[in-house]
């Protein structure tokens, strides 16, 4: 699954970079993030409990950063295991560009799922991942606003083709959980 998106954040590039490197900010933006353990400067493990509809699963994941070019971007690789439900893994190249005092954050991401998630969730993975990405950015921006880092601004633009948050069947929810974790991990970094 490949996806890309672009978000305008009403803050300076340095402020966005710092926020993206602040574990507390990210922890607050990622729904269900329980714990973050630093393995090295560029490697982390995280535990995330995600609930979608009636399904709740706890994912364990590892995150690695490469190509770090502060404050302009990096590549982040994440891997999450959801036990019997399968696993998700992915990577994203993220770039930040300052424009008119705001920061344009763009990303191209590739994620894949395995096991039961791949077997039964294939068809909804794309749409669900985009929905989850949108939720993350909404949370991220509102966190920046609440903490005064960013000026209140129009809602972050949704990634293309984001579906309405309708009720998903159980197996779709499992797919959503895995993808959400991949994305959560992809976006989790720490200075």
């Amino acid at each position: 699954m490949d996806m890309s998106g672009e978000h305008r954040i009403p803050a300076s590039i340095q402020a966005v970079w710092d926020a993206l490197n602040d574990p507390e900010v990210l922890k607050a933006s990622i729904p269900g993030c329980e714990s973050v353990d630093k393995v090295s400067d560029t490697e982390f493990t995280a535990k995330v409990t995600m609930a979608v509809g009636p399904v709740k699963a706890r994912f364990k994941g590892q995150v690695k950063l490469t190509d770090i070019d502060a404050p302009n971007g990096y590549t982040i690789t994440g891997k999450g295991s959801g036990g019997a439900a399968g696993f998700g893994e992915g990577n994203a190249k993220v770039t930040l560009v300052e424009e008119d005092g705001e920061t344009v954050l763009s990303y191209t991401a590739h994620a894949s799922v395995g096991g039961k998630l791949a077997q039964i969730g294939q068809r909804l993975i794309d749409a669900t991942a985009k929905k989850m990405a949108n939720e993350f950015f909404t949370g991220f921006v509102s966190h920046l606003e609440e903490t005064g880092i960013a000026a209140p601004a129009p809602e972050a633009a949704a990634p293309e083709a984001a579906p309405s948050p309708t009720k998903f069947p159980q197996w779709a929810a499992l797919g959503a959980v895995a993808v959400a974790v991949v994305l959560a991990l992809i976006w989790y970094i720490s200075g």
């Binding site: 699963a57 706890r58 959801g82 036990g83 019997a84 439900a85 399968g86 696993f87 894949s112 799922v113 395995g114 096991g115 039961k116 998630l117 791949a118 077997q119 039964i120 294939q122 068809r123 197996w171």
Partner: protein
């Protein structure tokens, strides 16, 4: 008045029960105090297991125990056997890697069972499985048989040194190559025979009960005959006496070959129940069926036909790559060889054959027998070759077939594989099919469709089948004190309507009322030890003949009793229409059966009862050879690639017909299954990760009733001289003819676009792309 004898279209006894939901499937059964099993499966196609931590999971609510291969190995559980013995030309035997019931060290396919959780409820077992921590080191995977052959392909069995399980050849190719070199014409095809996922109505299920006092286990599970599974599981794996394991099967919702196998989950359910001294139930869900039941087909074939100037075949060369999956299932490696190989060359006279099969390991679910097992693939190759030869040599497609059919006077005909085809009437069978399909009127129909912007095509698939399966079967007929008759069958009906057909045979042979015949099957404690089961289209012959001969023994004993009752010599007693006759006096079979239970009315020394078994054994290589001609007509929408099957006609030679209504049903079902493979069923694995991408009915398309026109079905009966009933198998015939007929119909529809090749399945996307490519190529 309705007649119930052989050859009558008697309605099935089974159907009211089945269609009113009153049949027992395995999941309908529960044992008091049962535990529930759930299997944690590998999410990776290929990975080393570094560690499995079940500590947290074992502490989860309701968990009774969690087992891994450490436990099964400590108990000395045997491995799952492959029952095939084949050798390469130089005598090298088949490489048979061992397959444990739970993964040991390495997982080789997505869905391989890694741990078994047993808990008080299924939900508790599932929740606990989430807590098992497995540390995998992911290895590269390979899913295609051809890719697996490449030098840099990931190896499934490094000790083997390659992914080739077996390179089987029927002979040195030398002479055959010489014929090809000197031939007037050589045509070649490259074909993909797509992998299919079998879909019995009930996903796999098992309930194991254990009686600690007697040490006896009972396994309730859908099978195609329990004895096969019982013998292997008891002796080779659990290492207990046969008698300590009873297998009982009720309704299965279809077998298709997939239900005849011994699977790890069946062993583990029995083993866990013995270990815990509690009943254990496992109910697989549909997604587990998709990855843990065997798959079917998956061959890549390169085939060439050498012909003389008249279009008569001189020699055939076939190179087959069979994707056998990650492990060898019971019959996996032999599907193209000793299953399909029995009819390689199809209905045609092939004077020389070079046949080579590479059996390849890949990180996929094992493949094995699936309705037709090798014969649909072999027939598809021949029909594609014949049609291509016809086009390239500008000979009419029907004419080239007539020139190559095995002629009636040539029977019994010995094939290049050494099989003896007993009989057939191929040209006449084809003519009969052409007639009911109105082949001659097709040009007008094509013209009319063209006027509406639709491309109409017609295709013909002739097939030869080999039926009979294993060479022995045991059947028992016994009269009950109330006058009814019970058949205790070694065969196992899993949808075929055996109760009906066997009742017809009893009614015809003994004159017993159709409704007074009961069938007992599927219980290894009750059915005889010589029982085999139902697969390979064998029951009409193996069960049917066994039954007729058991009836003959009943009549023989009845004559002795009748002679005693009539105070005459048994040698002078005749049996006719349910009556024993001697001169002017007679006694009915019903009365004889009554007398049989009264020792005082029996001759001295005769055992009471009227109860006879017959163990039928046919000649070792004596198959029967169903065959037939299927004709399909399609209309393709050139703008969307969507195709509609507008007509389907079939004339089959299934030998003597025991019940035409049931055989029609068999033919319909087989056609639907064959069309399913050719039209829409397609199993797709991710080539890099080895993930199954078509793992549910969301992504895996089954054929639907609205895709089928009314089928016109008829028979050309050529009784087999090899068995008492003159029957031939009917169960797998439809699968063998339909794919060729459908694909050739589509190629015929697209021929004006210059399209000469397309692979199954013919999804709208594939047809549309083929049309687009042809148009782009000009």
């Amino acid at each position: 008045m309705e007649k119930y004898g052989i050859g009558q279209p008697v309605r099935r006894k089974e159907d009211v029960r089945l269609i009113t939901g009153n049949s027992h499937f395995t999941d309908d059964l529960n044992a008091e105090g049962q535990l529930h099993a759930y299997f944690l499966r590998s999410p990776h196609a290929h990975a080393r297991i570094i560690a499995i931590d079940t500590t947290g999971a074992k502490a989860a609510p309701g968990v009774v125990d969690i087992f891994t291969s450490t436990d099964t190995e400590a108990d000395g559980l045997g491995t799952l056997p492959c029952l095939v013995d084949l050798t390469e030309l130089d005598g090298t035997p088949l490489f048979k890697p061992s397959r444990s019931v739970l993964a040991t060290g390495t997982v080789r396919l997505v869905g391989e069972a890694v741990a078994m959780v047993v808990a008080n409820s299924l939900n508790q077992a599932m929740d606990a499985a989430e807590k098992i921590e497995v540390d995998y080191q992911v290895l590269p995977a390979v899913v295609s048989s051809v890719r697996a052959l490449e030098a840099d392909a990931p190896l499934l069995w490094p000790e083997r040194g390659s992914n080739v399980c077996l390179h089987w050849q029927n002979r040195d190719r030398g002479d055959v190559d010489t014929i090809f070199d000197g031939a007037h014409k050589v045509v070649a095809v490259d074909l993909v025979n797509n992998r299919v996922v079998p879909s019995p109505m009930e996903p796999r299920c098992a309930l194991a009960d254990y009686d600690a006092l007697s040490g006896k286990s009972t396994l309730y599970a859908p099978t195609q005959g329990g004895h096969r599974i019982q013998r292997t599981m008891s002796k080779a794996i659990l290492k207990i006496p046969d008698g300590d394991l009873r297998i009982v099967s009720y309704a299965t919702g279809g077998g298709f070959g997939v239900r005849s196998k011994l699977y790890p989950e069946l062993v583990l359910t029995v083993w866990a129940s013995r270990k815990l001294a509690r009943p254990v139930k496992w109910r697989g869900d549909r997604s587990e069926t998709f990855i843990s039941d065997i798959h079917g087909r998956d061959q890549i074939n390169h085939a060439e036909l050498a012909l003389d100037a008249d279009g008569k075949a001189l020699a055939l060369r076939i190179e087959t790559f069979l994707n056998v999956g990650a492990y060898l299932s019971e019959n996996g490696p032999r599907i193209p060889i000793t299953a399909g190989g029995r009819i390689v060359g199809g209905a045609y006279d092939i004077p020389a054959l070079y046949f080579s099969v590479h059996v390849m390991f890949t990180n996929t679910t094992p493949t094995d027998t699936y309705r037709g097992a090798g014969r649909p693939e072999a027939n598809y190759i021949m029909e594609r070759l014949m049609e291509k030869a016809a086009i390239e040599m500008a000979i009419d497609g029907l004419e080239i077939r007539r020139r190559n059919f095995i002629a009636n006077h040539a029977f019994p005909y010995t094939t290049q594989m050494g099989m003896v085809v007993d009989c057939g009437d191929f040209a006449a069978t084809m003519d009969q099919a052409l007639d009911i399909a109105d082949w001659n009127g097709f040009a007008a129909r094509r013209f009319e469709a063209a006027g509406q912007g639709r491309l109409r095509g017609i295709g013909l698939g002739y097939y030869l089948e080999a039926a009979g399966g294993r060479i022995s079967e045991e059947m028992r007929v016994k009269f009950e004190p109330d006058g009814t008759v019970t058949i205790v069958a070694g065969t196992f009906s899993h949808g075929q309507g055996h109760h009906t057909v066997f009742s017809q045979i009893i009614s015809e042979t003994l004159g017993v009322e159709f409704d007074d015949v009961n069938l007992v099957q599927g219980d290894t404690d009750i059915i005889p030890d010589g029982a085999v089961g139902t697969f390979g289209s064998r029951t009409s012959q193996m069960g049917g003949v066994g039954l007729v001969r058991a009836c003959a023994k009943i009549i023989d004993k009845g004559k002795v009793i009748a002679g005693h009752l009539l105070q005459t010599d048994a040698a002078g007693v005749r049996f006719q229409d349910g009556e024993f006759l001697s001169g002017d006096s007679s006694v009915s079979l019903a009365d004889v059966a009554q007398a049989a239970f009264d020792p005082q009315r029996l001759p001295d020394g005769m055992d009471p009862g009227l109860d006879e078994s017959y163990h039928y054994e046919r000649g070792k290589d004596e198959n029967n050879y169903p065959n037939g001609c299927h004709i399909c007509e399609v209309e393709v929408d050139p703008d969307t690639g969507n195709l509609e099957i507008v007509a389907f006609a079939a004339v089959d030679d299934c030998g003597k017909i025991l019940n035409p209504m049931i055989v029609h049903g068999q033919v319909h079902g087989g056609i639907a299954q064959g069309v399913g493979q050719a039209l829409c069923e397609h199993t797709v694995y991710d080539e890099v990760t080895g993930q199954l991408l078509t793992g549910s009915y969301m992504d895996y398309a089954m054929p639907r009733a609205d895709q089928f026109p009314p089928m016109v079905v008829d028979f050309n009966v050529v009784p087999s001289p090899l068995n008492d009933l003159g029957v031939k198998g009917a169960g797998e015939a439809g699968c063998c003819g339909a794919p060729s007929a459908l694909v050739l119909a589509v190629l015929d529809a697209l021929k004006d676009l210059g399209i000469r090749h397309i692979d199954m399945p013919l999804t709208p996307e594939r047809v549309w792309r083929t049309i687009q490519d042809a148009r782009a190529a000009g």
